[in-house]
Amino acid sequence: MFLDGLLAFLGRLSPLDWLYYFWPFFVIDFARYVFLDGIVLGRWAYHGPRERRRRAAARATLFRERPLVSVVAPGKNEGAYIGELVDSLARQTYRNVELVVVDDGSDDETPRICRRLKREGKIHQYVRNDPRGGKASAANTALLYAKGEFVVHLDADSNLRFDAIERVILPFYLESDVGAVGGDLRAANPEAGFATRCQALEYIKSISIGRTVSSALGLLHIVSGAFGAFRRDTLERLGGWDVGPGLDGDLAMKLRKLGMKIVHEPNAICFTHVPTTFRGIARQRYRWDRSMVRFRMRKHRDVFWMDWASFSWLNFISSLENVVFSFLLNLKWWVYVAQMVLFHAALVPYLIVVNYVLYMLANLIQYAVASLALRPGLRPADRRLLLVVPLMPPYTGLFLRIVRTFAHGMELLNKASYRDRWNPWKVSRVAQEEGL
């Protein structure tokens, strides 16, 4: 009976009706995340052979010059993962690497583990900050001890693919105005549960593909804190990291303001441990999503002022894209829901089903494109994520959207990020007082 009704509803739809009833999908999501991504990736693939030759030349220069790369890993209570990180560094194709670990007031076994690794020569500098100062101070402490020409910032619970360092440094040798390179992030624990599978697929879509496209368009506005490379002199010029949360996006924005390029390197792969529960994901995204409001809409709102001395159209578009897609178009869904409930309440069950199918097909296309584009770097576990595709519409369209809406609201109305325990209270208090 429901199926008959659904088929009858679909049979009645003209092309204009399709657009009317499913405008968020066709006008925005499909256009931006499937159509545009497809075009950009196609162009990227077309230029592949020429790019490979440039990369080979840059690689030869990199290995001839052999600059020291400082891998800095600030973190709290991450000792259990440090061993994996150290092992992955030992397996790198690029060997001139030093590891600086900053233990930001850990209260578990981390100091003991790190001191042992330091004695074994696997960690070059181990710094213990006590009391804890927060992520920015820990990263800045690491920067103070880093000696390398390039600084690679890693989350201490991450580890790298064997060629990740080489690949994340390479873009600096391709273009002289590159200020930062974002590495690609994959879930280190994709098969730990349903929540991690969803995130693993989401990372492939939004980071591996999404950031590659943004990078190709010159609009990339974030270098993930989990894996990003910088020139040390540029970092020092900027005074390192500012107080977070969201300090990775903040730093990328500061680099853009300096006129430097931010690029994403999809083949520099870092495996990071993702939350294993939906509650954990919600907490993490609540923090991430608030930072969009705090940094993009408050701290760096000057990029929207056309009379500002350092105004740049590219920075303007980059920030606008971020605000529009993350913030405004997030609201469009609720407008759409209200529109359908108020004016077409009887059709809501059909609309839900059709929307689900449309978004699932879009996800399927995205996954197919990602599989082709990222083929050499995909693990068997990543291929098995095909089975998770049908579950992505409720995960991204419902779960993450609710969390994002709540986060934006809380930050706009209540400045909730200043009370986040992610930073020590002493730091949050000053940030709030100063309106940072």
Binding site: N129, D130, N140, G239
Partner: protein, 483 residues
């Protein structure tokens, strides 16, 4: 204490109390009046050196001498504080012409406890650790370590010091006491811990913070300062502007620690190689041997105060085999010295009668064996085990071995010519020499004599002559005396 004797060195006429007390010569402590004296009196300003005299007393082999109470005679102007710590009691004769009752009581108690302790060997008590055990048993007090800059070990046990030699390592009796504790003859109580050089055991170590890259101690250390507002982190000196603290990143003045900033760690900068690091390498430099060594390699000694246990008191009363002899006995059949003399006489008679073969008597002596205890402490057991292996290497099943004490050994090598014995001894010398050189900073010297067995051989006389000759050689070479 009317029969106490003033011990004098050199000219007796220079001793102010000669008229009041009988005198004995420090050079002649074997004299009957010395043995009979109830105590020895040492005058602070007496003839010769009172310390040297005290050492002569304590290093004597007869318990009647080395266990004798020694009272230091002082006056009002006394500056013999250190010497007073070595003697059993101090009698300030300016304060009291008569013997103070406390001194008298102490002397009587020592005499009472010493009385039953007879001589345990033909030439007195030769084993240093045994002599010290007996001394401690008769004093019945706790012997505590005293921190000092005068001994390389950093600690002294003053009353026991006169028993030891004069070298810097010899003044460390702690190792020997630890060895006695391991044998349950002493009970130790924790006092403190002390680092000592692993190479020369000197306690005077300079702990240095050095650069992990170039090893220099020329470092600059500063507080690491974290500015809360902007997350800036750098050494304190970067923030100092005039008399104020100003953040170099955001130009804000920082007023109050804990409110505006904190100091989460230290930062070190090497003035030589410019290396920056959060934790310096800690190393030690020995003031004596100047070796640079990581602290974790150095010896961490536990300093204890010691008392004699009931087991120790029993051993002090009835004698104690030396550790070396005990270890040797487990691996090699050791004959009693008196029995050995009979066996030597019988073998000499047999070879003379049948004239078919020749046998040899080997006399071996370690000079300065006491140093081994003092210098090695509890490790002495391992060295003695190795020495035992070396002894077994030269002895056949038909050979007989006897120890007069732990320094003097007789070996009867049956059916062995002096020439064959010479080769065996050379092997022993090489093995023992290498072992001792490697393990003991001041190794004892091994002397030996190879005697063809002849009828009428007087073992005691031969041994006495050999010991006298070796002692003379040792004296000329500046070595410790022969046991």
């Amino acid at each position: 204490m009317k029969d106490a004797r003033v011990v004098v060195q050199g000219t007796a006429a220079r001793d102010p109390y000669q008229g009041r007390f009988g005198a004995v010569w420090a050079e002649d402590l074997d004299a009957p009046e010395a043995k009979a004296a109830s105590a020895f009196l040492l005058h602070e300003h007496g003839s010769g050196s009172p310390l040297e005299t005290l050492k002569r007393i304590r290093r004597h082999r007869l318990p009647a001498i080395y266990l004798k109470p020694v009272v230091l005679l002082t006056g009002r102007e006394s500056d013999a504080k250190e010497l007073a710590g070595l003697a059993d009691a101090v009698w300030d004769m300016d304060l009291s012409e008569e013997v103070p009752s406390a001194v008298q009581g102490h002397v009587d108690a020592i005499r009472r406890r010493s009385a039953p302790l007879g001589v345990t060997g033909p030439e007195g008590d030769s084993d240093l650790s045994f002599r010290i055990l007996r001394f401690m048993a008769t004093r019945a007090s706790t012997f505590s370590p005293v921190a000092t800059i005068k001994a390389a070990s950093g600690f002294r046990y003053p009353p026991l010091e006169p028993f030891l030699g004069d070298g810097p390592a010899e003044s460390d009796v702690g190792e020997l006491l630890h060895l006695l504790e391991e044998q349950r003859l002493l009970a130790g109580t924790f006092v403190t811990r002390s680092h000592a050089c692993t190479h020369c055991r000197c306690a005077f170590l300079n702990f240095l913070e050095v650069c992990p890259d170039c090893g220099t101690a020329d470092l600059r250390v500063d507080d690491m300062v974290h500015h809360f507002r902007c997350g800036h982190v750098s050494p304190l000196r970067d923030y100092v502007r005039g008399g104020d603290l100003v953040c170099p990143k955001c130009d804000r003045e920082m007023r109050q620690i804990g409110v505006d900033y904190d100091k989460p760690s230290l930062v070190y900068d090497c003035n030589q190689c410019q290396h920056r690091f959060p934790e310096p390498t800690i190393t030690t430099v020995c003031h004596r041997c100047h070796r640079v060594t990581p602290p974790e390699v150095q010896i961490l000694r536990t300093m204890k105060s010691y008392e004699v246990t009931a087991f120790g008191e029993n051993a002090a009363a009835h004698g104690l085999d030396s550790l070396f002899v005990r270890i040797l006995q487990k691996k090699v059949k050791l004959f009693d010295y008196a029995v050995m003399k009979d066996l030597v006489a019988a073998e000499a008679y047999r070879t003379a009668r049948y004239e078919r073969s020749e046998s040899t008597l080997l006399v071996l002596s370690f000079q300065g064996m006491e140093n081994v205890y003092v210098e090695l402490g509890s490790r002495v057991r391992e060295v003695f085990e190795e020495l035992t292996v070396a002894f077994r290497g030269i002895l056949r099943e038909s050979d007989l071995l006897s120890a007069r004490n732990e320094s003097l050994f007789l070996a009867l090598l049956a059916e062995t010519s002096p020439r064959q014995a010479q080769r065996a001894v050379e092997r022993l010398q090489e093995a023992v020499g290498t072992l001792l050189q490697l393990n003991v900073p001041n190794p004892p010297r091994l002397s030996f004599a190879i005697l063809p067995l002849q009828e009428g051989l007087d073992v005691d006389q031969v041994v006495a002559d050999l010991l006298a000759g070796w002692a003379k050689e040792a004296l000329e070479a500046g070595q410790p005396g022969v046991s």
